[in-house]
Symmetry: C2
C-alpha cells in the first residue's frame, strides 16, 4: 500500500529540492493539497517560467531572464573600471547593499572543487578572460569566500589575471564590525592582527 | 538591488512550502537553476497535475485522483465491518504496513483544534455519520494520535458514534515493542500499567 499514484509522484518530485527528504516532501505535499492549492499552482507556473527563461548574463554570468543583467545594462556600470569576482548571486546582492561598490561583477556560480569535478571551465573563467582582454578594467577585486575553496579559487584567478595589465586585490579579512574580540575565531583574529594598519587620527 | 524579477518570483513562490524561509527558498532556487532544471520542470508539471486533479475519496476522505481511493475500491474492503478512524493519510499507510487490518478507513485530515478554528465540519464528520448510518460497520476503531488533540478528537467521535449501533474501541497505549522501560515517558508507563492484561501462557 502506497499513496495514490499522483500523490506519490508529487512527493517524489518535491524530493528534487535540496535538503528535502521523504518525510519533508510528504509534509509539503499534504500542506499544499490541504491548505494552499493556490500557492502550489502559482509555484508550478513560476517554476515552468523560471526553468525555461532564466539563463546567465552574457557578461557577468549572474542569473537573469534577459541577455544582460540589470547591473551590466546600467550605463554607469558599462564604463566601470573595477571588476569584482564573487561566488554566488547572493554575494552580488550583499555587496550591492553596502552601497560601496559601483563597478561590475563576475559571478563564478561556485568555486573550484576538484573532488566534485568543478574545474575552471565550470566557473566560466574563459568568459572572464574575454572580459579582461577588452582592457576596460584596471582592477580585479577577488571577493570569493574566506574558505579553503574560496581562497584556492581566488589564488587560481589571481594567477590567470596576472597575464593582463590590471591591479589585483583581495577583500580584507578581519574582525567583523560590531563583533566582540572574545567571540572571534583564532584564524580570523590572526588575519586581523597581521593585516593591521597604522592608526589614522 | 534585488535578484532579477523572475528569479525573485521563483524564490517568493518557493516560500509557500512549509518550513521554507527566505534563505532556504534562495538556496532551492539556485540549486534548481544551476544543477537540476529537469527536476524543476518535472516538479512544475507534477504540481500542476496534483493541484488540479487530487481530491478526497468520497468515502474515506483520503487523498486520491479518483472518486474512490484504492482501498475503498477493493472488493474485500467494500464489505468490511470495521472502520478505523485516523488523522492523516500517512497513518493509513503506517497501519496498512502492519498487515493487521483488513477493514476500511476514515481519514480526518487533522484533529479538532478550536484555537485554529478547526471544528467537526472540517474533519468531515458529517460524511462519517453517513457511513455509520448505512449500518455496514459493527466496530469503529479510534486510531487518532495519543496527543491531547488526538484524545479530544477521539472522545468527540466516540460520543457521536454512540448514537449508532456499533462497538467503539481505542488503540492501546503502552510501552513500544522493543523499547526499554527506562526510557519510556511516565505518562506512557502509567497507561501501560493501568492497561495491563492477564499474562497469557
Ligand atoms: Zn551581468
Ligand atoms: Zn477511500
Amino acid at each position: 500500500m502506497k499513496f495514490s499514484p499522483l500523490v506519490q509522484e508529487l512527493i517524489d518530485s518535491l524530493k528534487c529540492l535540496p535538503g528535502v527528504g521523504a518525510k519533508s516532501a510528504q509534509r509539503m505535499a499534504f500542506h499544499l493539497l490541504e491548505r494552499n492549492r493556490r500557492g502550489g499552482s502559482k509555484l508550478s507556473q513560476t517554476l515552468a517560467l523560471a526553468m525555461e527563461n532564466i539563463g546567465h548574463c552574457e557578461q557577468c554570468r549572474n542569473f537573469t531572464e534577459e541577455a544582460l543583467c540589470e547591473i551590466c545594462q546600467s550605463p554607469k556600470r558599462k564604463i566601470a573600471t573595477q571588476l569584482c569576482i564573487v561566488e554566488t548571486p547572493a554575494d552580488v546582492i550583499a555587496i550591492e547593499q553596502t552601497g560601496e561598490f559601483q563597478g561590475r561583477y563576475f559571478v563564478l556560480m561556485g568555486h573550484l572543487s576538484p573532488l566534485d569535478g568543478i574545474g575552471p571551465d565550470d566557473l566560466g573563467l574563459d568568459i572572464l578572460e574575454k572580459q579582461l582582454a577588452t582592457g576596460q578594467f584596471t582592477e580585479v577585486i577577488l571577493a570569493t569566500n574566506p574558505t579553503v575553496e574560496g581562497e584556492a579559487t581566488a589564488h587560481f584567478i589571481a594567477e590567470l589575471t596576472q597575464t593582463h595589465d590590471v591591479e589585483i586585490s583581495r577583500i580584507a579579512h578581519g574582525v567583523p564590525v560590531g563583533g566582540e574580540l572574545e567571540y572571534v575565531d583564532g584564524n580570523t583574529l590572526a588575519h586581523a592582527l597581521s593585516g593591521r594598519k597604522n592608526y589614522s587620527f
